[in-house]
């Protein structure tokens, strides 16, 4: 099913990109957790009160008092969506469209292997590298929390939030990967994935600013990631989460199918 040579080659080429992104995320995660202060009342809350709209736009309004609420509000509301999205845009473009655009896809396809397996390998690489990112981010947050505030973080709720967030990554990854398979030029592939991310994020930010725009949340797919619902463990949040996974898988498969059948200018 997957081509090991190609899979290893992609790790060799792209590990630096992953390191850069998880490096940045580590920095933010540690910083945010360090700001949590259960007894003294936290400094971020004071800052938030001084500019409520801006904080609301970033999903940081009404952040609760537990460490989980704090982490979910300040990290999972924006940072852990936006940075991985940029990673997905860059990586998905590299995995298919760039090879087609510069012509080196000829060498990947002039081999005794079905097209489906070549492009499938790329999809699985994107998936596994996101999974590595998820496991790493979870580990950093768990270890930092345990080290600074032992016993404060509610583990089952934390895991549920992460399952939801990974669904959002998979959905974004699927759409970006589909674009990479569909287009022969990197600028179009990058355009499509960036447009999706910018649109979704921007609408989400606007919808969070005030009641006037709240209705906008129904037109951004990122609303499907319902942090509060997942923390509470309610059914609707799980359904929304399932929809993200389903959409992601659908687009991955659709990308592979499109690539299998298309004419390649290489």
């Amino acid at each position: 099913m997957i081509n090991r040579t190609l899979y290893q080659k992609e790790w060799k080429t792209n590990w630096i990109l992953l390191i850069i992104f998880i490096g940045v995320l580590t920095m933010y995660a540690v910083m945010i957790i360090a700001m949590f202060d259960p007894e003294m009342g936290d400094s971020l809350r004071i800052m938030a009160a001084s500019m409520p709209q801006i904080f609301a736009a970033f999903g940081m309004a009404d952040v609760g008092t537990t460490l989980l609420d704090f982490v979910a509000g300040y990290l999972y509301g924006m940072l852990l969506i936006a940075f991985p999205a940029v990673y997905i845009i860059i990586l998905s473009n590299r995995l298919v469209a760039r090879y087609v655009d510069n012509g080196s896809m000829a060498y990947l396809l002039a081999v005794p292997e079905k097209r489906k397996n070549i492009v499938g390998t790329q999809a699985i690489f994107l998936f596994t590298s996101l999974f590595v990112m998820l496991v790493y981010v979870m580990a950093v947050i768990l270890v930092t929390s345990w080290f600074m505030f032992p016993g404060e973080l509610a583990i089952p709720e934390f895991i549920r939030v992460n399952i939801g967030m990974f669904g959002l990554w998979i959905m974004t990854g699927g759409i970006a990967f589909f674009g990479s398979c569909l287009f022969n030029e990197t600028k179009l592939a990058l355009g499509m994935s960036s447009a999706f991310v910018i649109y979704s994020l921007l609408i989400q930010m606007i919808s969070q600013v005030g009641d006037k725009f709240e209705v906008l949340k129904y037109i951004t797919p990122f609303t499907l990631f319902d942090i509060d619902g997942l923390t509470a463990g309610n059914g609707r949040a799980w359904i929304a989460c399932g929809v993200m996974y389903a959409a992601g898988i659908f687009f991955f498969v659709a990308g592979i199918e499109v690539f299998k059948k298309k004419n390649l200018p290489i």
């Binding site: 081509n3 040579t5 190609l6 080659k9 080429t13 510069n102 012509g103 080196s104 000829a106 060498y107 990947l108 396809l109 002039a110 081999v111 005794p112 292997e113 079905k114 097209r115 004419n263 390649l264 200018p265 290489i266």
Partner: protein, 295 residues
């Protein structure tokens, strides 16, 4: 037995670009030259043979298998040299050769070391910094290293210096002796003349001729420019050939099959200089096919 079979394929890109009702085949053990000026549709045809694009109409088969749906099976016995070589820039030449070998599911590097020696290739540098010729050599190594039964080569000598072009011709000739089936595109007639049994000629996406090299060569003309020691000699010589143009001590003459006659008659005078220019492929087409232009 037909190894490569192109059966009335059409791939229309609009504005006269593409290939139209192309139909020819390559037999087992044969070397076929695929000739045509730039933009004639050679690469479009080859892309269909590799299964990168599908024809709008008609079929392309290699060893009786459809080139698009069975590309992976065909690839087991196929070596391919792309016309516009694009490697993975971040790798060194050697890394790329190793990568290509593993992608082709070869156990080792096969004939790569031998070929690298033959083409005096040092592949240790980064591909990004390599010259066109170096890249071409890597492409050749990658196409031949698995010792495939069938070779599809898109303008294989582009970027090579004359010495390396000769090495390449030797390589083709030795592969031919070993019974390989080769399809080689080119826009240079001489290259094809030296290596191929037959040639298919394509112009504006349409096949103009498929014939043996001898047949094609017989229709070919050369322009001879002979400079004589004295103007009288030139005049006398020019009188022997009705179509010759005389200009001072120079005589300009088109020769085809009568080359022997032209040379022997010139021997009667003092020749101070001789220049022979072969027709370009375009001129050749115009001459060979009655000079009509169909655009």
């Amino acid at each position: 037995m037909k190894m490569i079979e192109i059966d009335h394929i059409t791939k229309d890109y609009g504005e006269q670009r593409g290939v139209f009702d192309l139909d020819f085949s390559v037999n087992q053990g044969e070397t076929l030259g695929f000739l045509g000026p730039n933009g004639a549709g050679k690469t479009t045809t080859i892309r269909q043979l590799l299964g990168f694009i599908r024809p709008d109409r008609g079929t392309v088969q290699i060893m009786g298998k459809d080139c698009f749906s069975c590309a992976d099976e065909i690839q087991k016995s196929l070596g391919y040299l792309p016309g516009e070589i694009a490697f993975i820039d971040s790798m060194s030449g050697m890394e790329f050769i190793q990568f290509a070998a593993r992608m082709k599911k070869m156990k080792d590097l096969g004939r790569a070391p031998e070929l690298m020696e033959q083409f005096e290739l040092n592949a240790n540098g980064k591909i990004k910094k390599m010259s066109k010729g170096m890249k071409q050599k890597i492409g050749i190594v990658c196409a031949f290293m698995q010792d495939p039964e069938i070779l599809i080569l898109d303008e294989p000598t582009s970027g090579l210096d004359p010495l390396m072009q000769n090495r390449f011709v030797e390589l083709i000739l030795s592969e031919k002796r070993r019974g390989k089936t080769i399809l080689m595109s080119s826009h240079i007639f001489e290259e094809v003349e030296r290596t191929c049994d037959r040639a298919a000629i394509i112009r504006q996406g349409r096949l103009v001729a498929v014939d043996t090299i001898e047949k094609l060569c017989s229709g070919r003309h050369k322009r001879m420019e002979i400079t004589f020691a004295q103007e009288d000699m030139a005049k006398a010589y020019a009188r022997e050939f009705p179509k010759a143009e005389q200009n001072g001590s120079k005589v300009l003459l088109k020769v085809g099959r009568n080359v022997d006659d032209a040379v022997k008659k010139a021997g009667a005078y003092t020749v101070t200089d001789l220049d022979v220019r072969t027709q370009s492929l375009e001129e050749f087409f115009l001459h060979f096919y009655g000079g009509e232009k169909n655009d």
